[in-house]
């Protein structure tokens, strides 16, 4: 696939120089990078075929430094992009050629772990898994568990509203963040939400989580800690076809069981995982399900029997149970390494992320198979079956003329399938730069315009991660119906109420 160079580098070096001067005043030497060679190491995130070298990289140590740089950016109208660990898969942290990349890798303190309040307060660069590591000695953990949890940052998780295998039962990042300190695109430091539930006023945090760095930079987060379950049982089940596995999934949900996770992999994905990590999944399976039940031991035991039965009733030919952490880890290894594993069976691949209503699964899988057949492009399917979040891996060989384009086409057609079934173009990887062009297929002009009212409230000058999410920016000055002069309520003699 061709490397896409976005935003041709141009003009205003004066503004940028002013920001750099300010950054050097505020930050230590190592915190400001302007050397071209070193800048290039930041040219992409996890979606490596988009590459842009930033004009400047800053790595602040605290919120004040970060706010100072953002304020200088705002003042000089220089765009900035936040970056955590750079594992994002939609180009959300793709730098701006004339802008500043604000990296949070030196803001990694876990400030508070308060199991008695079920809260932790962490800086944005803290690695997801480290929150759980800090909480575990107290019998608690941080529930959102993206497969990248060993490397991705909490700031990035907030920005993407990241999910994970267990969000079927436990929800996404937005369900586990209660408060944040935000550096607004003007460079103010603002508290939103709080440690206690239901902070009065608009749920600004609800808007910021999932906004992909377009509403400012999060410099601290107050997150919920969840009590570790008394019992966890993981079941690996082999089926002849994805249809059987899909039917079993539906039967489990219909029985009123809410497992912590139900993950599916098809034959090609299993082949890749086998090659990469030797996970020893059932031989000859056309699909496997990884089903995890957790909770109070008495409850898990009752549900478990039923899940086993429902899988058998729907044609499973092999079931393996893991109750201890080592066996569980082995089952999960195959699933969690699936993206990278595909590298073993194909030189290049696209990780797609789309969502469908779960009941549409058999139909959509059939359509994907047909797409694959007619185009000759192989597709390995890995997904969160419980909530209909598909991760088709579209395989290609970039050294073959036109293969990249063919893969792109199949990948795009899969998104159309999702939209056609009332689903979404992204369940957890975000829109970023990659899917902005698909947004108008899901939302009409008025929907997008209304979303951007939020953008205009937070970032009227469009300096915070511009060019992401929305295909066309809204001009914030143009508020329809905005009038000048006396307010109607003032007119009516009611203005003193305000």
């Amino acid at each position: 696939m061709a490397t896409t160079e976005l935003h041709e580098r141009s003009t205003d070096h004066g503004a940028l120089a002013a920001v750099e001067r300010r950054a050097r005043e505020l930050l230590s030497r190592e915190g400001v990078i302007s050397d071209h060679q070193r800048l290039r190491t930041y040219e992409c995130d996890g979606l490596a075929h988009y590459r842009v070298t930033p004009a400047l990289v800053v790595i602040p140590e605290d919120a004040e430094q970060l706010a100072g740089v953002v304020e200088a950016c705002a003042h000089n109208r220089v765009p900035f992009v936040a970056r955590g660990s750079g594992t994002g898969l939609s180009g959300g942290a793709l730098p701006h050629a004339e802008g500043v990349l604000v990296v949070t890798s030196r803001m990694r303190a876990i400030r508070e772990v308060r199991p008695q309040d079920q809260r932790a307060v962490v800086e944005p660069g803290v690695i997801n898994l480290d929150v759980t590591r800090a909480a575990a000695p107290h019998g608690y953990y941080y529930a959102p568990d993206p497969s990248s949890q060993q490397i991705c940052s909490i700031g990035g998780n907030l920005a993407e509203n990241s999910g994970g295998a267990h969000c079927l039962k436990y929800g996404f990042t937005s369900n586990h963040v209660l408060g944040a300190e935000l550096v607004t695109p003007q460079g103010e430091i603002v508290e939103i939400g709080g440690a206690a539930p239901d902070t009065p006023g608009y749920d600004l945090l609800g808007a910021v989580v999932g906004s992909e760095g377009t509403l400012g930079v999060v410099t601290s987060a107050t997150v919920r800690l969840v009590r570790l379950p008394e019992e966890v049982r993981t079941l690996l089940v082999g089926f002849e076809t994805t249809d059987h596995a899909g039917a079993a999934t539906s039967a489990i949900i219909a029985a009123g069981i809410l497992p912590a996770a139900i993950e599916m992999m098809d034959a090609l994905a299993i082949e890749a995982a086998e090659a990469a990590v030797h996970c020893n999944y059932p031989a000859g399976a056309g699909a496997v399900l990884v089903i995890e039940l957790d909770g109070a031991a008495a409850e898990v035991a009752a549900e478990f029997d039923e899940v086993e039965r429902l899988c058998r009733d729907n044609g499973s030919f092999e079931q393996r149970v893991a109750t201890d952490p080592t066996d569980r880890a082995l089952i999960w290894k195959g699933r969690k390494s699936a993206f990278a594993a595909v590298g073993r069976i194909s030189p290049d691949y696209i990780v797609q992320d789309g969502v469908i209503p779960r009941t549409a699964l058999p139909e959509v899988l059939k359509a994907i198979a047909e797409l694959s057949e007619s185009s000759g492009v192989r597709v390995a399917n890995v997904f969160h079956a419980g909530d209909g979040n598909l991760h088709p891996l579209v395989l290609f060989d970039d050294s073959v003329e036109g293969a990249g384009e063919a893969a792109e086409k199949v990948s795009g057609a899969i998104l159309d399938l999702c939209i056609g079934h009332g689903g979404s173009i992204t369940g957890e990887h975000g829109v970023g730069v990659d899917k902005a062009k698909y947004m108008p297929r899901m939302y009409d002009e008025d929907d997008l315009d209304t979303m951007q009212l939020v953008r205009c409230a937070f970032d009227p000058d469009n300096v915070s991660n511009p060019g992401k999410i929305f295909p066309t920016p809204r001009l914030c000055g143009e508020v329809p119906g905005r009038h000048k002069g006396v307010h109607p309520l003032q007119d009516a003699g009611l203005a003193e109420v305000f």
Binding site: N175, A298, V454, H483, P488, F498
Partner: protein, 415 residues
């Protein structure tokens, strides 16, 4: 503007936007503020028409669902028009296999529950105010005991359709539980008290109805004991659906209760109920019946209703302060959200109780809000208190409703 001063052209414009427009009756007053007109649209299109007409004539508009919470928040600064959404009362779509339901804003929460119960499912929001609509439930962010296990509206709403102050219709989210495409406007609308846009339709994720349920309750007579009992269950692994406290006002020695709801499979519930009973301590009793006052606010007609929030370690202090201030509190001890009731006949007493509780909840990182009460009492106290991020909230309001015509003055910071 009041009923008398709304000019004829504005009246005609609203009347032609929607089939049913009437002069307001005394019962249509919004917390004491008399509107001129009530529009009763029967479709989202008509809602948009009415709002366009209101925009053209710069009318202030207060949305109303089933009218069960019109005295919540502050009285509006002005209400030319009440936009009554009771006519948008349909449960649109229940996809049982996908565990989702769509409903119009005027549908009652109860109607939605009835529609999904046949498939042994529920929308996991407690009906804390009988007869409440979906739109009003969202706009005031109502929650009950069940929030401990499943969260609140923000954790259940997956899609929303609104009409803006300028009459433009817009949607966000969708029909699937997992979706990160675009901003989550639904979350902004939840708890916005009608000040940002008018909700016309909402989509929710559903939960399965459990086979068995059991309450385990213990009586306690001091705040420290109540805290210990609740904490023992909260930090254990029995996965309760709810941990509630009911703590009447009164002198020392007045008894309160800590109640735990367990739901699940019959055997599981049986075993967990035994565990919970031993955690709660001697005297804990199991029951198939819900305790008195379950999922109901403690206040009645004429009382002032409060919402208190705090981090979990503050429970004992908050209960202690409530009793000393003569405030009956009840609510989710397991999440740190209690509701309080004070008699509304003495504004000074309300003010001093509020001050004391704000100090204690503030110390435990929370807030106290006056939810409901007589308008004159609400005018004499700080209803919303100091809230972080008010400047940003004002900017959001200015974008969505630049002329401040939607429920003006009902919300935080005069929004």
């Amino acid at each position: 503007m009041s009923a008398g001063t709304l000019d004829q052209t504005a009246r005609d414009a609203v009347a032609s936007a929607c089939a049913q427009v009437d002069d307001a009756a005394p019962a249509d007053a919004v917390d004491g503020v008399a509107p001129a007109l009530v529009a009763r649209p029967s479709s989202p299109d008509q809602v948009a028409e009415v709002l366009r007409a209101a925009a053209a004539h710069r009318l202030t508009v207060v949305p109303r669902g089933r009218g069960t919470k019109m005295t919540w928040g502050l009285p509006p600064a002005s209400a030319d028009l009440v936009l009554d959404l009771a006519g948008l009362d349909r449960v649109l779509d229940h996809a049982a296999g996908d565990l989702i339901v769509a409903a119009q804003a005027g549908a009652r929460l109860r109607d939605v529950q009835d529609a999904v119960a046949g498939a042994r499912q529920r929308l996991a929001i407690d009906e804390t105010v009988p007869g409440a609509s979906i739109g009003g439930t969202l706009a005031t962010n109502v929650s009950g005991p069940r929030r401990m296990l499943v969260g609140t509206a923000r954790d259940l709403l997956i899609g929303i359709t609104v009409v803006r102050a300028d009459g433009v219709r817009a949607k966000a989210g969708g029909r699937v539980v997992k979706n990160v495409a675009g901003y989550d406007l639904g979350k902004l609308l939840i708890g916005s008290y009608g000040t940002l846009a008018v909700i016309t339709e909402a989509l929710f994720r559903l939960h399965p109805l459990e086979d068995a349920r059991r309450w385990v309750t213990v009586e306690v007579d001091d705040a420290g004991r109540a805290h210990e009992a609740a904490s023992a269950v909260v930090h254990a692994q029995a996965v309760p659906t709810a941990v509630e406290v009911d703590w009447p006002a009164g002198s020392g020695g007045t008894r309160g209760t800590v109640s735990v709801l367990l739901e699940g499979r019959p055997q599981g519930v049986e075993t967990r109920a035994r565990t919970v009973a031993s955690l709660l301590g001697s005297g804990a009793q199991g029951s198939e019946e819900e305790p008195a006052g379950w999922a109901a606010y403690p206040w009645g007609e004429g009382d002032v209703g409060l919402k208190l929030t705090f981090v979990l370690s503050g429970l004992g202090d908050v209960l202690g302060a409530a009793r000393e201030s003569g405030v009956h509190v009840r609510g989710s001890a397991g999440t740190g959200v209690l509701y309080g009731s004070v008699p509304g006949d003495d504004a000074d007493a309300v003010g001093s109780a509020l001050g004391r509780l704000r100090e204690v909840c503030g110390r435990h990182q929370g807030h106290v809000v006056v939810v409901d009460g007589p308008a004159e009492v609400k005018r004499s106290v700080d209803v919303w208190g100091t809230v972080p991020g008010q400047g940003l909230m004002q900017r959001v309001k200015d974008q969505f409703d630049p002329e401040h015509r939607l429920a003006p003055g009902r919300f935080v910071g005069g929004i």
